[in-house]
């Protein structure tokens, strides 16, 4: 009888512990890059924990640090996130009330300009998708170094003051000739008949057109049908300094500027079929210069 009791307790313990084991093998973190990756997990339960973005170079130089660029989107101060999509809450300079249904754009060519005129280049590009700040694309998640979500990492940055932080909105004409499989599979290509390469931005939503809801598709890329086809936007932001091992640069992205200056954007005139529209493409390029600005630089030891 004693043996039976012991066995009962033993078997109950095993059954209960196997319950815990079997549950955790079904749901857990399915990302192999996470520190709590569970190779038996069947479904991702959002529990993945990632190592802090630090510089892991073996020849780590303490004079250098890690900088994360964080892009914060708003429309003249009103936040823009996936949770603010599909709602007529934004008003353009032309007094058009709009909602946003999609915002994806491509940044590349990140550079830091020293005060003596030299510059440091950082490899990679990032296709930001405001609706999916944490991409579901498993390939994207495996490529941490190329940026994920709405941030972009600058590795191994020499400490000190810089005259400018620069990047390219879209691809410059050289990069735009490349073949990028991750962009291809996201259908990001710009038609060959319009010069090829890739979209720089897809900004979509609805606007109130005499009380009726109409759609707009503000797509930016090569300005093919005119003399000045090159249409990417070189962005230069002044005044950054890095003193500690880690720094976060908060960059404001004011989407209202796409509609404001120097060209007041009338959605009734320019709402769709904009890809082959040379005038619209050059207006986008001009207005885009004002969209990005540095909000703050936070230093962390």
């Amino acid at each position: 009888m004693k043996t039976t009791k012991t066995l009962l307790i033993l078997s109950a313990t095993i059954a209960i512990s196997s319950f815990f084991t079997s549950c955790s093998t079904e749901k857990g973190c399915t990302d192999p890059l996470a520190i709590n990756f569970d190779k038996d997990a069947e479904k991702d339960d959002g529990s993945c924990i990632y190592p802090a973005p630090t510089n892991n170079d073996q020849n780590h130089d303490h004079a250098n640090g890690h900088v994360t660029l964080v892009f914060n989107h708003h429309f003249d101060g009103l936040p823009v996130t996936s949770s603010t999509f599909n709602d007529f809450r934004y008003v353009t300079a032309n007094n058009d009330t709009i909602s946003i249904t999609k915002l994806k754009y491509l940044l590349s060519g990140f550079k830091l300009f020293k005060t003596n005129g030299d510059s440091i280049e950082f490899h990679g590009y990032s296709l930001f998708d405001i609706a999916n700040p944490i991409p579901t694309d498993p390939h994207h998640r495996l490529k941490h170094d190329e940026g994920s979500g709405l941030t972009f990492p600058l590795h191994d940055v020499e400490k000190g003051a810089y005259a400018y932080l620069g990047f390219t909105f879209g691809f410059d004409s050289t990069d735009n000739l490349g073949n990028y499989s991750d962009l291809n599979v996201k259908n990001w290509n710009w038609p060959a008949g319009l010069g090829g390469g890739y979209h720089f931005m897809q900004f979509e939503g609805q606007y109130k057109n005499n009380g009726n809801d109409s759609t707009f598709a503000y797509h930016h890329g090569t300005a093919f049908n005119g003399p000045d086809k090159i249409n990417h936007i070189p962005i230069k932001l002044t005044g950054v300094a890095f003193n500690e091992d880690n720094a976060v640069v908060n960059i404001d992205v004011n989407l209202a500027d796409w509609f404001r200056s120097p060209y007041l954007w009338d959605l009734n005139t320019y709402h769709n079929m904009l890809m082959p529209n040379y005038t619209a493409q050059k207006m986008m390029q001009a207005n885009g210069h004002n969209v990005f600005s540095i909000n703050s630089v936070i230093q962390r030891r």
Binding site: A15, T30, T101, N179
Partner: protein, 378 residues
């Protein structure tokens, strides 16, 4: 797996009472929503000591040139034995409630793994409200959402659905697993593929998914044209230009391009089929009204085999589809802004333009895909 192992170990040393209590505990505490409880069966075959043979997908040149490497979940690596087991399961009616329907009943290889019905009929004679989807190039669906409404995550998640769907195979997973466990050869095949003869629903869907990941279609005339091996006719070339022209067919924003020869973005859109929705599509899954009327973009590959078209199979022919996009588009609250001609009812193609576009679409036909011996019933 853990449960079965402990059970067997205990059985050899304890009495019936303990066994019954143990089973009761295991059943009560198992996560039945995700993995149906399986009554442990005495193991008749010793565990497999040889590992299954790893299998590497043969990536077609055109995909290697344009697309990322295919996605495979780390917890379900492809193996020769797993794929072979998956092929057997895919074609075996043993998974259905009355043993009359297999996956292939509604996903036939000769039809690019779909059927010709508007709505497929399940084992009880009931019909669904969605058109059976073809299966190919699923390993390149990086959104990893399956079904017309995206309700399943991953191929493995998808494969759980039809077996227990009352209007499809109308089985239960415990019953399907029991049938397989009592089958003369399946336990050995599971042993070869997964190192255990104990059948489990998770292993069933993993094997089926492995087979499905091998279903690659990349040998159409247009693929060969992109590789410089074959020329398009002037009509096909003209049709492709229309496809890529925002002022022509305006198809490329959802349906791919020379850079994305999947011919789908694997995303969800409202393409203007209806002014009001009887089927909410993605919105029914997310609960977000902004997703109402959105359905997954189907690939344009192998269209000749996959009629009827749209999520509800409403169009019998490619001509009807082209007529719809030309003049039949309906405005609604969630119409995709990339349907840039929707306010005018569509892209307004001439008869000649429709013929050209159709010629291009038919150049996406891959005859070798439907005859590939590796994809047929075992």
């Amino acid at each position: 797996m853990f449960r079965s192992f402990y059970t067997v170990a205990i059985m050899t040393t304890t009495n019936k009472l303990t066994f019954v209590i143990l089973i009761a505990l295991a059943v009560f505490y198992s996560c039945s929503k995700d993995k149906d409880p399986v009554t442990p069966t005495p193991i008749s075959t010793p565990p497999n000591n040889t590992s299954p043979t790893p299998y590497t997908l043969n990536i077609p040149t055109i995909f290697a040139q344009t697309l990322p490497a295919p996605f495979n979940p780390p917890n379900n690596p492809l193996t020769v034995e797993g794929i072979e087991l998956g092929r057997h399961l895919f074609y075996d009616p043993i998974l259905s409630g009355d043993g009359t329907q297999s996956c292939a009943t509604c996903h036939a290889p000769t039809l690019a793994f779909t059927d010709t019905n508007q709505f497929s009929t399940g084992i009880d004679g009931l019909k669904g409200n969605r058109n059976s989807m073809p299966i190919f190039n699923a390993a390149w669906n990086f959104n990893n959402k399956f079904f017309w409404d995206g309700r399943a995550l991953g191929l493995e998640g998808q494969a759980f659905g039809p077996v227990r769907n009352p209007i499809e195979m109308h089985n239960t997973w415990p019953n399907a697993v029991s049938s397989l466990q009592n089958h003369p050869t399946y336990p050995n095949m599971f042993n070869a593929a997964f190192g255990t003869p104990t059948v489990d629903s998770v292993l069933v869907v993993r094997a089926i998914s492995q087979f499905e990941r091998t279903l690659i279609s990349a040998n159409s005339k247009f693929d060969r044209y992109l590789l410089g091996m074959e020329a398009l006719t002037p009509q096909e070339a003209s049709g492709f230009n229309l496809f890529m022209d925002q002022q022509g067919g305006d198809c490329f924003h959802c349906h791919g391009s020379a850079g994305n020869p999947l011919w789908t973005d694997n995303d969800f859109h409202n393409n203007g089929l209806d002014a009001t929705f009887t089927d909410l599509g993605l919105g029914g899954v997310t609960g977000n009204p902004a997703d109402n009327g959105k359905f997954k973009t189907p690939s344009l590959r192998n269209l000749i085999f996959t009629a009827p078209y749209m999520h509800d199979g409403r169009f019998q022919t490619i001509d009807e589809v082209l007529d719809f996009y030309s003049t039949g588009v309906q405005m609604s609250s969630t119409i995709d802004p990339m349907m840039e001609h929707a306010a005018n009812g569509g892209v307004q193609l001439t008869a000649q333009e429709k013929a050209n576009l159709k010629a291009f679409l038919l150049s996406l036909t891959d005859n070798s895909f439907i005859t590939n011996p590796n994809f047929q019933a075992p």
